[in-house]
Amino acid sequence: MTSPRPRLLQVRGLTRRFGEVTVVAGLDVDVASGQAVVLAGPNGSGKSTVLRCVTGADVPTEGSVELDGRPLDERDPAVRSALAVVMDDLDFFPDLSVVEHLDLFAKAHCMPEAEPLVDEVLAEVGLVAQSGQLPGTLSSGQRRRLALASAFVRPRRLLILDEPEARLDVDGVRWLTERLRAEKGVGLGILMASHHPGLIEAVADEVISLGGPS
């Protein structure tokens, strides 16, 4: 008999209304270490809204979000260290190159051996040749890879990803699948929204289907 995995994230009764429209109603989500939970559903079903409420980018109308049994407050530096978030709207410094961005994230988190780690992740996401480019010159797929790379050059216990497969090519999705499986393997929790059946099947331990707004 294996011991139960420690619970990282607990969401209870999450509700988000925009005026008369209820986008998410009474949602419960649990994510444990080494577990991947995927939010699935059509456009507008509230996947990104849930992730925004969990990460503190939005405020739920009702419900609670706890990390390690304590209310999740994204202003807390410890929470920021634990959560690696890649949402769809991530923007970059227009005057810093690709590698300088990753160096900044790694060093801000005081990662030991930051530069070799950044080089490794750059090679993994296929951006070595673009390391001196500015974000404004990258393609949308390359910008997505840079956003994902930003999550892998820093400490993390819970990955929160909003449609991480978006704008990635076939090889990119394959790499992402393997990477997320590896992240799970070393005990990280994953909460993500996705439309990609192959990625969901390969990574998800639990799939939560969200309906449309009411």
Binding site: T55, G56, A57, E74, R75, P77, A78, R80, S81, L83, V85, M87, D89, L90, D91, F92, F93, P94, D95, L96, S97, V99, E100, D103, L104, F105, K107, A108, H109, C110, M111, A114, E115, S131, G132, Q133, L134, G136, T137, S150, R154
Partner: protein, 466 residues
């Protein structure tokens, strides 16, 4: 009928506001005649039209370079440029329109400066004519350079900016011989006017001929920039304007030489600011150059107003140093990637600009001290307060929130207007007035200390709020 009505309103408004402005300028000129009695004031006043003309040319060239000057809308870029349509035919009206706008912009400003300086009618007409023609020549030169994307336009712009700075420097160091105010239209004016005219005609003809050879990539970036700028200006969202310009400036660079290394933790953010300065030292040069402004103000007899002049110069020159802060404010997702509170994060990216603002303030100290007629030590403290006041104003500018259309709107003849829309236009200037007020009211060490305290409170609020 609607068109006629609109034309009537446009003409009526132009005539009404134009006559009001002309009246104000003439009255100020008369008042200046009575009040400007010192040699320094005379020097500054006689220099005014020349410095204004130079400044207008620099701004004209800078705007031309920013937009192209020839540019097409994204729709024209997508649908017409790829077709076999005659490109010169397509672009000619655009260049002509820009040249007309240039003339309409340059003439009233230079004319106002000449009238303020007490120029006679003939020399005023001469200076306005020369400035307009040189403006046309400059814009056409930039249009010519647009074809090859060479450094000529940049060199000319920087040379004119350098000339402007040198003029201010000679005034500030009291090395300028009294220029005097010309009363009559001499043959020298005619010769210069003719030379400027010839330059304008040659440059314009060559620019018009070059239009057929302009590449797609030369005319579309300006078209992408223009809607962003007009949108930001329409909503008076000046911070958005900053974003648009910043993105446009760096989009023209394909790649840079990465600079790695540096400390960990909050120091990593400081390192990126230093990287920015090494990569693009222009903001540093500008900040150092504008130190001359308060000194010129002292010579011109500005008195206590030197405080405002120095703080305003610091405010505008500090803005380009705050790109890191601006990006973090506008992109909460980026800030969330780092393990720091909002306030610590913002303070970290303010370390370098604060250090430079302190140096700027100390460099302005003697001028501020002279303007306020206080001892040298007190002048340094007041200069420090002025430098930090400029920084606080710039921070207020870049941390401003956009107009909030989700709140109740105020009904106006122009439609619903967000309550914070009009406040956006004075953002930064409000903090500048607030933080310099103690020094203006009490030009003593106490006034400087009160100003520093107010600046600290403002900065703490602006960096701490979410």
């Amino acid at each position: 009928m609607d068109v006629l009505g609109d034309v009537y309103v446009a003409v009526f408004a132009t005539v009404m506001f134009g006559s009001m402005l002309a009246n104000v300028v003439l009255n100020v000129g008369r008042v200046s005649d009575e009040l400007c009695v010192t040699r320094g004031c005379h020097e500054a006043r006689s220099l005014l039209p020349w410095t204004v003309a130079l400044a207008v040319l620099v701004v004209t060239l800078a705007l031309s370079r920013l937009l192209g000057p020839v540019f097409v809308t994204p729709a024209v870029g997508s649908w017409l440029l790829p077709t076999p349509v005659d490109r010169a035919e397509l672009l000619r009206p655009r260049l002509v329109k820009i040249l007309v706008i240039c003339v309409l912009g340059v003439c009233p400003i230079v004319a106002a400066a000449a009238v303020l300086a007490g120029f006679g009618v003939g020399p005023t007409v001469g200076l306005v004519g020369v400035s307009a023609l040189l403006g046309v020549a400059g814009v056409s030169l930039v249009a010519l350079a647009q074809r090859r994307q060479g450094p000529v336009a940049r060199l000319v712009t920087w040379s004119l900016a350098l000339a402007l700075w040198a003029t201010l420097l000679t005034l500030a160091t009291r090395r300028l011989p009294l220029v005097g105010t010309p009363e009559v239209f001499s043959t020298a004016w005619l010769a210069v006017l003719l030379a400027a005219g010839v330059a304008a005609v040659i440059a314009t003809v060559r620019a018009l001929r070059s239009l057929a050879h302009l590449r797609d990539r030369a005319v579309t970036p300006g078209g992408q920039l223009a809607p962003g700028l007009s949108g930001a200006l329409a909503s008076l969202d000046l911070a958005l304007l900053f974003d648009v310009l910043l993105a446009h400036r760096w989009r023209r660079h394909d790649a840079v030489r990465p600079r790695r290394g540096g400390p960990s933790g909050l120091g990593a953010l400081l390192w990126t600011d230093l990287t920015r300065l090494r990569r693009a030292p222009q903001p540093l040069v500008t900040l150092a150059a504008v130190v001359v402004v308060p000194y010129a103000g002292v010579v011109a007899g500005a008195g206590r107003i030197v405080v405002l002049v120095a703080a305003l110069a610091g405010f505008l020159a500090t803005l380009p140093l705050l790109s890191g802060l601006r990006v973090l404010v506008r992109t909460p997702g980026l800030a969330r990637l780092m393990p720091f509170s909002v306030a610590r994060l913002r303070w970290a990216v303010l370390v370098v600009p604060t250090g430079l603002a302190v140096l700027f303030g100390l460099a302005c100290g003697p001028a501020v001290g002279q303007g306020l007629e206080v001892p040298a030590g007190a002048g340094l403290l007041l200069g420090l307060a002025v430098g930090l006041s400029g920084l606080a104003s710039a921070v207020r500018w870049v941390t401003g929130r956009p107009p909030d259309y989700s709140r109740p709107l105020v009904s106006t003849p122009a439609g619903g207007v967000p309550t914070n829309l009009y406040g956006s236009a004075v953002r930064g200037f409000d903090v500048l007035l607030l933080t310099t007020a103690p020094m203006l009211l009490a030009p003593t060490v106490r006034g400087g200390e009160a100003s520093l305290l107010l600046t600290a409170v403002v900065l703490a609020y602006l960096t701490g709020r979410r």
